[in-house]
Symmetry: C2
Subunit: 399 residues, 2 copies
């Protein structure tokens, strides 16, 4: 019976924390707050921080990611947080309530930065976001990032661009002060959301081969190159079906799937994780933001010759009440007409389109297919030509 | 330059009615209220009801459908309506307002019946629906039809089952009385929504080959078997990519696509309509109802060995506010594992899932693919295992 290290099943962390005894009933020995310091492969055992040694026949590495810090003085001061684990969320909520916080600074404009802007603004707390670039979520086309920026501003988030953080120090009006290359600012809490990297500390100690991404190499069965050792989730690579490359995209649904594959195979089954297409989404205030597949840069890196189009249209039939604007960008390969990627932004319908297009990417469809897909049309749900059709046929004509 | 007969572009009927002169500017002679009585193929001309003869080089038949009537005495009395054309809607609205109607009877529980229940109840008018069977929309699994029935009742629609209509006659408390095999009822308006059939009157006169469905046979270019004569929309057949058969599914988005294909080919292009997978949806009050592909009966008729599963789960992550129940049924082929069809019902997320699965059907994916599709997971939009994954993996285990 393998020990589960880390947070393979992220969403259930909370459940697990509450009920390790529940797992024990089923014969699984779940230990929380038990960091594995070392893996002794010869002996087939792990050593915990408290010195306990636990033997294993099969080892699963689900060590997840480590949040990055900018590497500046004062970044570990009380009141400076990163957000990765359930316990981080608990600590942040306690801090917001107990200090109490009148103002929060968020550093970084990725998924975590966006979701925390919404969470903190919704508590009525003044929120300032410092970002290295000029637009948030640079995975998306600048035209869409601009829409996200407007949504942030519409909800009162102060978005500060072109920032290099220099230090965190004690503040005057608030507990902390963030020093940057230009304007500094004070706040009662600072959230560092500048990125994450796969936590491969143990894997490195063991000399497990890592991929070019810095994450653990696995095969389609989630086996590492070492007999009896599996890796799943954010700490390992996944096969990207569009680029044909092994990538590291740390997302909860991928981790869940890989966990199931490893578990099934360890139990004697023969299950394959068939890879990903890079589907991802987040909500920020009233906006759905989603993407799938490759962007132009990734497409070029993968040997394609990308062409793209970005169209705006209706989320549902233009004549229907409740209609909102939807933006859709498609990226395709000029040589083959194959769909390579898609991005969408809107108050409604963005994730829905990206899911349909993720299936198209999964199946390797071309624009000739995507432009004629048979979708479940009714005016409350789309126009008779869905924006997917419009975008695909527009891009097809460019090739 | 071809003449457009009927309503190829249904949604634009209203626009066309208002602005035939707009089309004339572009050199297209659009004539409304101009029924073609006869096609003289030898002379290459059509004869209108008023005797006018119009020559043609190429003829496009877009004659649409004819609404069926039950064939009972009194069915053409004033106050009895069918709903097909824009002008029907105008007449119905005028009748509702001017009579004025306190009560409406709808006969038939298909798409038109469902949508009109909502429209009429939302006007605050008492609504009674008489249906031949025991459950509405029998395209769907009885478990889902039951959910639709509950939604109708929740909004005050009186749903009367197992009805055979016998006659319409003058009423006492209301203008009309519907006589049936059991309980009769009075109302100020009766909507007959008992089905439609392709309008092939002209095609039959011309001796154009019809398919087994009774609709006009066409090829992938929308050409009929007669040189220079095209057919598009509800009056013709479409190739069903899942069953591999030619079918007649009268829906606006299909008609739109076929119209584009015919137009392009007439203009000297070389465009193919690659077929359909049977995606369809409607909204009734707060419910999304959608389906795609084949149901079990159609699957058997097409030579498959269907297995199915019906699962209930969350439209979005169970932990999120605003989560609602979503039902999803999948049908697959036991021999090959190929997905054959899907149905969904819920307050949100049903159409979105059906669109993704329509793409899967389009590409001919198996349950092994569908169970692992990479979708854009975030808690406001789905669980980390979407209901699509749950249903596909559940059904896969049954094979």
């Amino acid at each position: 019976m393998p020990y589960y290290i880390g947070d393979v099943i992220k969403e259930e962390t909370r459940l697990i924390a509450r009920t390790p005894e529940k797992f024990r009933e089923t014969g699984v020995d779940v230990r929380i707050d038990s960091r594995v310091e070392e893996v002794d492969e010869k002996a087939g055992a792990v050593r915990l921080a408290d010195g306990t040694r636990l033997p294993y026949d099969i080892l699963v590495l689900g060590t997840g990611t480590t949040p990055l810090l900018p590497g500046i003085p004062g970044e570990t001061l009380e009141g400076v947080f990163t957000l990765k684990r359930f316990t981080d969320a608990v600590r942040i909520k306690a801090w917001l309530r107990e200090v109490p916080c009148r103002k929060v600074i968020i550093v970084g404009a990725g998924f975590i930065g966006m979701e925390m802007c919404e969470a903190i603004r919704n508590l009525g707390i003044e929120t300032q976001l410092f970002h290295r670039g000029t637009l948030p979520v640079n995975r998306w086309d600048p035209e869409f990032s601009q829409v996200v920026l407007e949504e942030l501003r519409r909800h009162g988030v102060d978005f500060v661009t072109d920032t290099e953080t220099r230090a965190v120090e004690a503040g005057k009006d608030h507990r902390l002060r963030l020093v940057t290359n230009h304007v500094g600012a004070e706040a009662d809490m600072i959230l560092m959301a500048v990125g994450i990297r796969p936590d491969v500390t143990l894997a490195k100690q063991m000399g497990l081969p890592l991929g070019e991404t810095g994450a653990i190499q696995v095969n389609f069965s989630q086996r590492t190159l070492r007999e009896g050792i599996y890796a799943v989730g954010d700490c390992c690579e996944s096969f990207h079906r569009v680029s044909g490359r092994w990538v590291n995209i740390p997302l909860g649904d991928i981790a869940n799937k890989q966990g199931r594959v490893a578990g099934r195979n360890i139990g004697g089954g023969d299950m394959i994780f068939p890879g990903i297409v890079g589907a991802q989404s987040f909500k920020v205030f009233d906006l759905e933001v989603a993407a799938t597949g490759l962007d132009e840069r990734e497409a070029v890196q993968s040997g394609f010759h990308p062409v793209s189009t970005l169209v705006w249209g209706n989320a549902i039939a233009g004549s229907m009440p409740g209609n909102t604007k939807l933006g859709l960008k498609l990226i395709a390969d000029r040589a083959t007409g194959k769909l390579l990627g898609a991005q969408a932004v809107g108050k409604a319908g963005a994730v829905s389109r990206i899911n349909t297009l993720s299936c198209a990417l999964w199946a390797g469809l071309t624009l000739d297919d995507v432009g004629w897909l048979d979708l479940a049309y009714a005016p409350p749900f789309s126009g008779s030509w869905d924006l997917i059709h419009v975008a695909a046929q527009t891009l097809r004509r460019q090739i």
